[in-house]
């Protein structure tokens, strides 16, 4: 059977198996754990002690606690990845055997944070390099060893390129004559116009 929140594929066996672990926790506690998992997915620090406090009353073993966090993490991030609305998610989770109360609590937390989750996932998407900053300087060459009167402007450009996620910034310096610089500027302006038509 295919599920939208799994990307129109079958639900993984381990998720199916852990749904019954989720049902063991009360729906109020599940909502609290959900809030913590959402914090982790959004890049804030997860407060593991709070989760342990909540689950210690429910008598879950440490393996079950980790499994609960893993399955919630999967459900929430996968639903955001495939842009599933909270009602469809709720009905699909109920089809998998999650009680109605638990599913609606989970989906209400999901709905609140859906767009932040998707923004965060977009920011984490594969990016090879990005431009950090550009520095420039305009000089005027008076004379050189080859020619006594040169009298030409010269542009120095330095692109500071950040490499992927690791963040090492490499400086790429170059010099351009006035004509070359005009060509570069014209081409970049054309590219910018094209980008604006898409936004």
């Amino acid at each position: 059977q295919r599920f939208r929140f799994c990307g129109d594929l079958d639900c993984p066996d381990w998720v199916l198996a852990e749904i019954s672990t989720l049902a063991k926790i009360s729906s109020v506690k599940l909502k609290l754990i959900c809030a913590q998992v959402l914090r982790d997915l959004l890049g804030e620090a997860i407060e593991y002690e709070k989760i342990l406090k909540v689950t210690s009353d429910a008598k879950l073993e440490s393996g079950d606690v980790k499994a609960t966090i893993a399955v919630l993490s999967f459900i929430l991030s996968s639903a955001a990845k495939h842009n599933v609305d909270s009602e469809s998610l709720s009905s699909e989770l109920q089809q998998l055997g999650l009680p109605k109360e638990h599913a609606s609590g989970l989906c209400r937390s999901y709905e609140e944070k859906q767009s932040s989750l998707q923004d965060r996932l977009k920011a984490c998407s594969l990016r090879l390099s990005r431009l950090g900053s550009v520095c420039w300087r305009v000089d005027y060459t008076l004379s050189s060893s080859e020619l006594q009167d040169v009298n030409e402007p010269l542009v120095h450009l330095t692109f500071n390129v950040q490499d992927g996620e690791r963040g090492r910034v490499a400086a790429v310096p170059m010099t351009l004559s006035a004509d070359k610089f005009r060509v570069l500027l014209a081409e970049l302006k054309q590219a910018q116009t094209l980008m604006n038509t898409l936004l």
Binding site: S125, L126, A191, L198
Partner: protein, 199 residues
């Protein structure tokens, strides 16, 4: 298969009968620690003081014992062969029994340490991907050119490297087809026969 010990190693192991029963246990423990974590000169000095033997003799004894254990574990020699190999050293039966016990107790662990020393190829860690569409370039506008960018993360001896690849969708489909064919090979009669015989 019998173990062959050089004259030097026999001399090193000669410390064992002089040291006495309890000391053999201590030296055995030091030998296994040498294999687990490498040289521990401070522990050897402490043992030397406790047993009233000089440090160099202790060191040689520990090294000789660890050689005995690694070679025996590497070749997976039987109890009988081990006892016959050790007979050559001319130790008492009690000492031979202690050595045999030391070998049998630690054989599995030593073999797992030895298996990690084999050279390894880079192994798969994770894969990030991105689907882009090229709409225009400096030389040509009004294009539609889809491309898949992949970042393959590899692990080699705790070193993480990343390889960036790019392909068009039809090559990607071909790649997927080839990989599925490779997986399908496991189900052929030829592979099944080999797997059955290996068990």
């Amino acid at each position: 298969m019998l173990l062959v010990l050089s004259e030097e190693q026999k001399a090193h192991l000669g410390v064992l009968p002089r040291a006495g029963g309890a000391a053999v246990g201590e030296l055995g423990r030091l030998a296994v620690e040498l294999l687990r974590r490498g040289a521990a000169p401070r522990a050897w000095e402490a043992a030397a003081r406790k047993l009233n033997i000089d440090v160099d003799t202790i060191q040689h004894g520990v090294e000789g014992l660890s050689y005995l254990l690694t070679e025996s574990s590497k070749l997976m020699i039987s109890e009988v062969d081990f006892q016959e190999s050790v007979q050559v050293l001319g130790f008492s039966d009690e000492l031979n029994q202690l050595l045999l016990q030391l070998y049998l107790d630690n054989r599995k662990e030593i073999r797992s340490i030895l298996s990690e020393l084999a050279p390894k190829l880079p192994s798969y860690h994770s894969l990030e991907w991105r689907l882009d569409v090229q709409l225009a370039s400096r030389s040509l506008r009004q294009q539609i050119k889809p491309a898949v960018t992949l970042k393959l993360h590899l692990n080699q001896n705790e070193d993480q490297t990343a390889q960036v690849l790019q392909t068009d969708p039809s090559t990607l489909l071909h790649l997927i087809q080839q990989l599925e064919q490779a997986l399908g090979e496991m189900k052929t009669n030829h592979c099944r026969r080999i797997v059955r015989n290996m068990k």
